[in-house]
Amino acid sequence: MAEKSQLQYTAEHEWVLVEGNIATVGITDFAAGKLGDIVFVDLPKVGDTVAEGKIVGEIESTKSVGELFAPVAGTIVEANDAVSDSPELVNSDPFGAGWLVKIEFTELPSMLSLDEYTALSGE
C-alpha cells in the first residue's frame, strides 16, 4: 500500500499510483465510504484499450452504482480478480488490496495532488 501523498487523484474520486509507464488505479476511501458496502465490481479485461475519462467499469454498493473512469489512456495490463471475488476489499483496503486495474500508458494527464483532492472532497 502506497502512501496517500505519493498518489495522484482525479475529481472522480480515483487514486493513481504511477510506476514507470504503469498506472495502478483504485477509488479513494472517501468514495468507498460514501458508496457504502460494495457488493459488485465490474472491471475491464486485460488487453482492453481505454480512453482517458471514459467509463471502463462499475462499482455497486447495496445503495448505489458508481462508474469507474479511466484516469489515463492506455491498455489494461492487469485487473484485480481479488476484488471481483471479494468486492468488500474496496471498503476494507481501498488504497491496497482493493486496487482495481493497472493501465499501461504512454502519456500522463495532469491530475490532482493529495492536497487538491482533499480540498475537493471536503474532508
Binding site: H13, I27, T28, G36, D37, G66, E67, N91
Partner: protein
C-alpha cells in the same frame, strides 16, 4: 467515480433529530432524507442488515410524523378520511392504512394506533408530514374531532430483530407497561414509562422482523437510546441506519412511499386492495374512484428475482423480449438471500409468478423471474 453524494450542499433548512449528537459520536454517515439529516449507516450497512435479521438493530426514525386525532367522532372521522375501517380496531390495536385523494391515488401510507376509544395516533412518512396533516385537518370539517400535528414533540426509536423483546425487558428505567411485552401481540401498542416519562410502544416495524417502535418526548429520547443500547449491546444490538432499513423493508416486500406508492397509483395496483375497506358503511375520500378502479390492464406491483450480483434498481426498465413491459421501483442485491431482488410495476399480462422477464441493467439484459412477495419472511 460518480454518484458520490456531495455532503456539503445540503440545504440550510435541514432538520436534525433530537438524537443527532449521539449519531455523530457513533461516527454515522448522514444522508438528507425528506429534509432531515439522518444516519444512513454507522459502520457497514450489510453488517447492520444482518444484525437486524439475527440479533437486533436500533434505528432513529424521529423524522416520522405523529398526528393525533382526538374526539367523540375520532373513529367515524378516520373511516371517512382514510381507506381502512379504523373505527373497527380494538383498543391498543394498530392498523396499516392509506390516505387517498379523490382520484384514488395515495397521499401517504400510515400506521394508526388506537390509544383510547376516542383517541388515535396516526404516523405518517416524514416527506408527507404536511400533506397528510393538512388532508386530515381539511377532512375533519363537520366531525367532532381535533387533529393536531405533534411531530415536533416526538422522537421515534425502533428496536428491530429477534432479540428485541429481551432488550426492552432488560432496559433500565423502562417500566409501567400497561401490557407486558410477552403478552403484547404484533400490531398492538402499550403505554409505558421511562424514568417517569410516558411513552407509547408499538410492536410494529418496517424490517420484516419482530420489533418495537418507541414514541417518546424529544427531551427523554437520548436517555432512552442510551439505556436501550446498554441493555442491548450484550445481546448483539447495533445502531442501524436508513441504508439497511431500506434493504430490510425491500426483502420484507414492504412498499416505500415515493417508490412503490404515489399520487397516481391505485392501491390495488400496489397489491394493497385489502387495505381499502370498500365494505365499510358511508363515504370515504377516494371511494368512487376506487370503485371504478384503474384502467383495465394497468400495471401491477410484482417481485422480481435474478441470479448473479448485478441488481436492477429504481427506474430500470423491464422487458419481455423486445417489448418494454415495466419499470423497477426498488431494487438491491438482497443481503439475506444473496441474489438481486426488485419490486417493479409490470403490465398485468406478465405479472404471473414464474413469468421470465429481463431487466435492462445499464445496457445489459439480466434475466429475472416474477416471484411472490415478500422475498423474505421470518420464521414464525
Amino acid at each position: 467515480m460518480t454518484d458520490v453524494p456531495n455532503s456539503a450542499d445540503s440545504p440550510t433548512a435541514v432538520k436534525y433529530s433530537p438524537l443527532h449528537s449521539i449519531h455523530e459520536q457513533l461516527g454515522a454517515t448522514f444522508t438528507d432524507f425528506a429534509g432531515w439529516m439522518m444516519p444512513v449507516r454507522y459502520t457497514s450497512d450489510l453488517a447492520e442488515h444482518h444484525a437486524v435479521r439475527t440479533t437486533a438493530g436500533i434505528f432513529d426514525i424521529s423524522h416520522m410524523a405523529e398526528i393525533h386525532v382526538r374526539g367523540a367522532d375520532a373513529g367515524a372521522f378516520l373511516d371517512f378520511a382514510l381507506a381502512g375501517k379504523l373505527s373497527g380496531i380494538a383498543l391498543a390495536q394498530a392498523k396499516y392504512s392509506l390516505l387517498l385523494n379523490e382520484a384514488g391515488g395515495i397521499i401517504d401510507d400510515l400506521v394508526t394506533y388506537r390509544l383510547a376509544d376516542d383517541h388515535f395516533l396516526v404516523v405518517a412518512n416524514a416527506g408527507n408530514r404536511f400533506a397528510a396533516a393538512n388532508a386530515l385537518m381539511e377532512r375533519a370539517a363537520g366531525f367532532d374531532v381535533a387533529v393536531t400535528d405533534e411531530s415536533d414533540d416526538y422522537a421515534l426509536i425502533a428496536v428491530q430483530g429477534p432479540v428485541s423483546r429481551a432488550i426492552l425487558e432488560a432496559t433500565a428505567g423502562l417500566t409501567d407497561f400497561a401490557t407486558p411485552l410477552d403478552e403484547l401481540k404484533y400490531y398492538r401498542e402499550t403505554a409505558a414509562t421511562f424514568h417517569g416519562t410516558d411513552l407509547i410502544i408499538g410492536r410494529t416495524g418496517y424490517t420484516g422482523e419482530d420489533g418495537f417502535e418507541l414514541y417518546i418526548h424529544v427531551d427523554a429520547a437520548a436517555a432512552l437510546w442510551a439505556a436501550l443500547t446498554v441493555a442491548g449491546e450484550p445481546l448483539g444490538l447495533v445502531p442501524a441506519g436508513l441504508a439497511c432499513r431500506d434493504t430490510l423493508r425491500l426483502e420484507a416486500g414492504m412498499p416505500l412511499y415515493g417508490h412503490e406508492l404515489n399520487l397516481t397509483t391505485f392501491p390495488v395496483q400496489a397489491g394493497l386492495g385489502r387495505v381499502v375497506a370498500l365494505s365499510k358503511e358511508g363515504d370515504f375520500v377516494g371511494r368512487s374512484a376506487i370503485e371504478s378502479g384503474p384502467d383495465a390492464g394497468a400495471r401491477v406491483l410484482v417481485g422480481l428475482a435474478a441470479e448473479g450480483r448485478r441488481a436492477g434498481r429504481a427506474d430500470y426498465l423491464i422487458f419481455n423480449g423486445d417489448t418494454e413491459v415495466g419499470v423497477i421501483t426498488s431494487g438491491a442485491l438482497s443481503p439475506t438471500l444473496g441474489h438481486p431482488i426488485a419490486m417493479a410495476y409490470v403490465d398485468d399480462d406478465v405479472s404471473e409468478v414464474g413469468t421470465e422477464l429481463h431487466i435492462d441493467v445499464r445496457g445489459s439484459r439480466i434475466a429475472a423471474s416474477v416471484v411472490s412477495l415478500p422475498f423474505y419472511k421470518r420464521e414464525a
